[in-house]
Symmetry: C3
Subunit: 467 residues, 3 copies
C-alpha cells in the first residue's frame, strides 16, 4: 500500500541513492585503509609460537585473548543489544532504534579501530590489533550510541553516519589527550565515553532544535510491550556493566576489583531509583522510564574509579547518589532543558550519562587524590596509576588534579565538537523527517501492515477477515 | 488519566511514602554495614602483587577471577533476565515481573554479601569479597526469585522486600548448617536454593491464601506475545544452567564435569516435557506453560550431583524423569494444591523447583553414597567430597547419609521460615492489592495508555486518532 | 474453546500419541547408548589430578574448560536464542519457531554427541566427552536449525525430529570425510555446517513442495513486534559469531585471530546490507528481512578462513561482498526459486547460509592455497594447517585443492541426503498441516485467546469486557 502522504512533503526523506552511496563509499574507504594499515597484533598472528618463546610465556592461556575475550563479548552485547533495545521504548520507533544503532555501531567500530589504532597501536607504519582493540572500538562506539539517544527519532540514517564519522574522530583525539598527554586513568570511561558522548549529543540536539516537535508528541511515548523490549536493553546493560568497567583494566586484581565495585554501585542505584520514582509521583506509582534508565547511572558513575580502591561501600555510596540524581533529573530537569534551553533529549541521556559521567569523573579524581601506598601497597600503587617512566614521580594529589583536568577537557571537546557536528547536520541535504513524522519508523522502514484482521481475528479464523 | 476506581478501595495500595522509606533506609543500612565490614579479598585487592608472590603464583591468570567470572556473568543473567522474563508470561503483569524481580534481587545481593560473608568469609573482623562471593550472593537471591514465583501478582513491592530480608537471612543460616556443620556438597543448590526456596515460597503463599482470587482469574493467563517474552527467560535459564551448576565447583575437572552433566540432563528433560505436554492434553497440543517451565527441571535436579561422577547417562536419566514429574505436576498437582490445600502457586514453582529440588537432593545423596575410590581415583575422591581435616575419615555412605539429612534440614527451615514470614506479610500494613486487582501492573506502575488509536491506526496515519 | 474447523480436515495433525511416542522412545535410546558408550574425557573426569601430573600441567587453568567454555556458552546462545528467535518473525508462528527449534536442538545435541563421538572421540570402546564435544554437538545441530529455516511453518514436530535424526547422522559422516579423510580445515563450518545444512534443507523443501501454499500467504508475513523479536535472534547471532568461528580453533593465536576476522567481516556486511536493502526498493526504505538476515552472511563466509591469516582487510572484503550477495538474493533469487524451481524457502536460507557458505568454502580454499611460511612463520604454518604426521609433506596449494574438494563433497552429501530425507518426510504419516494451515501455531500449540477485551480494555477496566 502506497502512502502518498509521505511523498512530496516539505522534507525529502527519500534515501534510495543517498544512503547506499554513503554506506558503500565509506565501506570501500575502510577496506582501503585497513589494507594499508591494519594487521594482527603478535598475540593474534600466526607467528605467535615464536613470540611466545620471546616473551617467555609457557602456555597459550597467557594470550591476552583469555584475559579479555569474555569481557569483550559482554561489552559487545551492551553496545548492540543493550543500547539498541534500550531505545525501543518508543511505540513506533523500534526498527529505527535497533536498526540504526546496528548501522552506526557497525560502521563506528571499523573507523574506531583505525582512529584509535593510529593514536595507540601504531608500530612501524602498521596498526596491530588484538582483542583489546576490539573492546576499545566498542567503547568508542558506546559514546556514539549515547549521543544517538538524544536525537533518537529525529534524524535520518545519513545524519547518524555523518555524526558517527566525526564523533569517533573527536573521541579518539580526546581519549589521546586524556590517556596519553594528561596520563589520566579512565578504564570504564566516565569521562571519555559518558561525559564526552552525552554532552556532545546534547549539544548536537540543541543545535538541531525543532520548534514544532509537539506535532509528533503522541508518538513520543511507549506502549506496554515496547517498555518490555526496552527492559531487555536495560537489564543487559545493567548485568554486563561490571564487564564494561573491568574490560581493559590491568590483568589480575584490577579487573577483579573493577567488577566488584561496579556490581555494588549498580545494586545500590536500583534501590534509590525505585524510591525516588515512587516518591516523585503524586500517585506513588513507579515509572518505567526511571527503571529503564536511572538504574544504570551507578555503572556510569564508577567508570573512572571502579579499578581503584574505591571499596565496596564507597561504590554503594556512589550508586546511592546517582540513582537519586538521575531520577530527579528525569522528573524535573528534562522538561526544564526542553522548555527553557531548547534541548530536546529523547532518551534523557543528560540524566543517565551526562550527570553521572561528571560525577564519575569527580569521584575518580577524588579517589585518585586520596590514594596512598598504605592502601594500595608499594607495588600496587605504582601499578594502579602506572606511575612509571616519565610519571614515576607523580603523586596521588597531582594525579587527582590531572583527573579533574580530564573532565574539563572532555567537556570542552564535547561542546566544541557537538557544535561543529550539529551545524553540519543542520544542512538541508541529509533527508531528515518533518516534525510531524518524527519518532515514526514508517519514514525509513518498510513497516508490516498490522491490519485489523490480525489483531481481531488472529485466533478466530472463522470470522471473516474484512467485515 | 486518573482512575478513581483504584483509590478508596478496601485496600490501600498507595506506595508513595512507604516504598521510598523502606528502600532508602535499608540502602543506608547496607552502606553502613558495608563500611564497617566489607573489604576486598586478596585477589581483588591492590596488594595482589605481594599476595601472588606469597602464594607462589606465576601469572595473573591464576587469579580466581579468570576461573569464575564468565560463569558469574551467566548466573547474573539467569537471575535478572532469566527469572525476570520467565515471569512476564502474565498478560498484564510484565512490569511487575521484571521490575520487582530487579528490585528484590538488587537488594538481596547486598544483604546476601553480608549474611553469607559473616558465615563464610569473615576474617579478623572483615568480610573479604571476591568473585565467588558475588556468585554466592546471586545464588542466594535465586532462592528469593523462586519464592517470588509462588506469590507473583499478589503482593506489594514492600512485602517482597520484607520477604527478601528474611529469606536471605534464613538462606544463609540453612546454607551454613548444610555446608559447614553437615559438610554436605551442594554446588548447584538443589537443596539450599531450590528445595529451600520453593517450599519457603509455597508456605508463604499458603499463609497469604486469598479465597477470592478467582475475581482476577481473567488476568491470570498469558497472551501471545507475553508467552514469547517468557521464552526469553526460559531459554537463558536453560542455556546458562551448566554455568550455574559449575560456577562454584572446584577448579578444573569438577567445573568441567558439572557443566557436562547439566547440559545432558537439560537436553533429556526437553524431550520428556514435550512428550507429556502433548500426551496429557485431549487435543494433543503442546502447552507453552510446560515448555517454559518443565524443560528446566533437569537443571534443578542435578544441582547437587552435577559436580560428582553422575556420568552423562546418569544425567540423562535424571532429566528424563524430571521432565515427566514436572509436566505431570503442572497438569494435575497445581490445581489440586490450589483447590484442596489452598496453595495458590502463580508460576507453579512446586513443579519446577520443589519436586525437582527434592529429587536433586536424593540423587545427590545416592551419588555420594555410591562413590568409590575406583571411580574417582584416590586423590579425586578426597577432592570431590573435601574429605580433609576433621572429615578425612568420613566414608561415602556416611556422606550419603549427611546429604539426606541436608534435605530434611532444608525442608524444615523452609516450612518454619515460610510460616514466620508469611505471618509477618499478612499484617495489613504492607499495601497489597485487593483480590480483584491481582496480576495487574496498574496498581503499582504507571502503565502507558494503549488507546484504540494505537492499535488501529498505528500504520494508518490518515485516519483520525480519536473519532 | 474447541475449534472444530481443525478436526476432520484432509490432514490429520493430531499429535497426542505420535509425538510422545517418538520423544520417549528416542530419549530411551539415547540413555541406553549413552550408558554403553559415553564417559567423561580425562579433563572432566575425577582422575584429572593424576592426568594433570601425567600431562605435566602445573595449573587447573590449563584445563581445556577454561580455553573454550566462554565460547561454548556463546555458541549455545546462538543455537537456542539466536536461531530460535530469528525465526519468530512470522506473525503467528512464534511458538513453533522457538519451541520446535528448542525440541530438535535438544534432541540433536544428544545424537550428535554419539555420532561425532564414534567418529572422533572413540577410545577403547568409549566416547570420551569434554567441552569441545559440547561445542561440536551444538555446531552439528546448527546445520539442522539452518535446514529448519527452509521448511519453517510447513512441517510437524515429528517430521522435524525425523529430519534431525538423519541430518545429524549425515552431518557426522560428511564432517568425517572432510576433516579426517580430506584433512580439510573448517573451524567455523562454512562447508560442514552452512553449505551442507542449507543445501540439505533446500533439497528437503523442494521435495516437500506445496503447490497450494498461497492459501496461507496472509500468514507468511511479520507484524511489528514479531520483527523486533526476530532482531533479538539476529543480534545474538551477529554478536556471538566471533565466538562461533573461533570456538574450536587451536589454543592461542588461532582463536584470537578467528574472532578478529569474524568481527571485521560482520561489521562490513552490515553496511552493504543496508545499502542494497535501500537501493533495491523503489521507495528506498530499509527492509527488516534483509537486516535480520543478510547482516549475518559475513559470519558464514569466513567460517573456513577466519582462523587463517585472512587479515582484517581480507575479512572486510568478504563481508562487503556477502552483504550484497545475500540482500540481492532476498530480493531476486528467493521469488525465482519459488516460482521457477518450486523451492519454498521460508526464511531465505539460500541467501543467508547456502550462497555465503559456498563463498566461505571458496575463500577458505584460496586463503589456504595462498598460505606461505613467510606469512605464517615456519611453526605457525605447520600448526595452522596441522601439517603433521601423514600430512607433513602437503603443500599450501594441495591443501587448497582439498579444501575445494570439501565443498563438492558437502554439496553432494547435501543433495543426496536431502533427497532421501525429503522422500521419507513426504510419507503421509507424520501429521503435517494442510496448506491453508501452514505458518499457524494453532495446529500444534495451545494458543492463548487474545480476546477483543484484552486488546481494547486492557487499561480501561471500567468498560465492560464484552459489549
Amino acid at each position: 500500500m502506497e502512502r502518498p502522504r509521505h511523498q512530496g512533503m516539505a522534507k525529502n526523506t527519500y534515501m534510495r541513492w543517498r544512503l547506499p552511496l554513503v554506506c558503500l563509499l565509506w565501506e570501500v574507504a575502510m577496506i582501503v585503509l585497513f589494507g594499508v594499515f591494519v594487521r594482527f597484533s603478535p598475540e593474534a598472528d600466526a607467528h605467535w609460537e615464536e613470540e611466545k618463546r620471546q616473551m617467555n610465556l609457557t602456555s597459550d592461556i597467557e594470550n591476552d585473548f583469555y584475559f579479555r575475550y569474555p569481557s569483550f563479548q559482554d561489552v559487545h552485547v551492551m553496545i548492540f543489544v543493550g543500547f539498541g533495545f534500550l531505545m525501543t521504548f518508543l511505540k513506533r520507533y523500534g526498527f529505527g532504534a535497533v536498526g540504526f544503532n546496528f548501522l552506526i555501531a557497525a560502521f563506528g567500530i571499523q573507523w574506531a579501530l583505525l582512529m584509535q589504532g593510529w593514536f595507540h597501536s601504531f608500530k612501524s607504519g602498521k596498526i596491530l590489533i588484538g582483542v583489546e582493540n576490539l573492546i576499545n572500538a566498542d567503547f568508542c562506539v558506546g559514546s556514539v550510541c549515547i549521543a544517538f539517544g538524544a536525537i533518537l527519532g529525529k534524524t535520518s540514517p545519513i545524519q547518524l553516519l555523518v555524526m558517527t564519522l566525526f564523533q569517533v574522530t573527536l573521541f579518539a583525539v580526546n581519549e589521546y589527550i586524556l590517556l596519553n598527554l594528561l596520563h589520566v586513568r579512565d578504564a570504564g570511561g566516565s569521562m571519555t565515553i559518558h561525559t564526552f558522548g552525552a554532552y556532545f549529543g546534547l549539544t548536537v540536539t540543541r543545535i538541531l532544535y525543532r520548534p514544532n516537535l509537539e506535532q509528533s508528541k503522541d508518538k513520543q511515548g511507549s506502549v506496554y510491550h515496547s517498555d518490555l523490549f526496552a527492559m531487555i536493553g536495560t537489564l543487559y546493560l545493567w548485568m554486563y556493566w561490571p564487564s564494561f568497567n573491568s574490560a581493559i583494566s590491568e590483568h589480575g586484581d584490577a579487573q577483579h576489583r573493577a567488577a566488584i565495585n561496579t556490581y555494588c554501585s549498580l545494586a545500590a542505584c536500583v534501590l534509590t531509583t525505585m524510591a525516588f520514582s515512587s516518591m516523585l509521583q503524586k500517585k506513588g506509582k513507579l515509572d518505567m522510564v526511571h527503571i529503564q534508565n536511572a538504574t544504570l547511572a551507578g555503572g556510569v558513575a564508577v567508570g573512572t574509579s571502579a579499578e581503584m580502591m574505591l571499596t565496596p561501600y564507597g561504590s554503594l555510596i556512589v550508586g546511592f547518589i546517582c540513582g537519586i540524581v538521575s531520577t530527579v533529573g528525569y522528573v524535573y530537569l528534562t522538561p526544564f532543558l526542553e522548555s527553557r534551553l531548547h534541548i530536546q533529549d529523547t532518551c534523557g541521556i543528560h540524566n543517565l550519562h551526562a550527570m553521572p559521567g561528571l560525577i564519575g569523573g569527580i569521584v575518580g579524581a577524588v579517589t585518585a587524590a586520596a590514594a596512598t601506598e598504605d592502601v594500595y601497597g608499594k607495588e600496587g600503587f605504582i601499578k594502579a596509576f602506572d606511575f612509571t617512566g616519565m610519571y614515576r614521580t607523580r603523586t596521588a594529589s597531582v594525579q587527582g588534579g590531572f583527573q579533574a583536568a580530564g573532565i574539563v577537557v572532555s567537556l570542552l571537546m564535547a561542546f566544541a565538537g557537538g557544535a561543529l557536528v550539529g551545524a553540519i547536520l543542520k544542512l538541508p541535504v541529509w533527508g531528515d523527517a518533518a516534525a510531524e513524522n518524527c519518532f515514526e519508523d514508517d519514514i525509513y522502514w518498510e513497516v508490516p501492515e498490522d491490519e485489523e484482521s490480525d489483531v481481531y481475528h488472529m485466533h478466530n479464523p472463522d470470522k471473516p477477515a474484512s467485515p
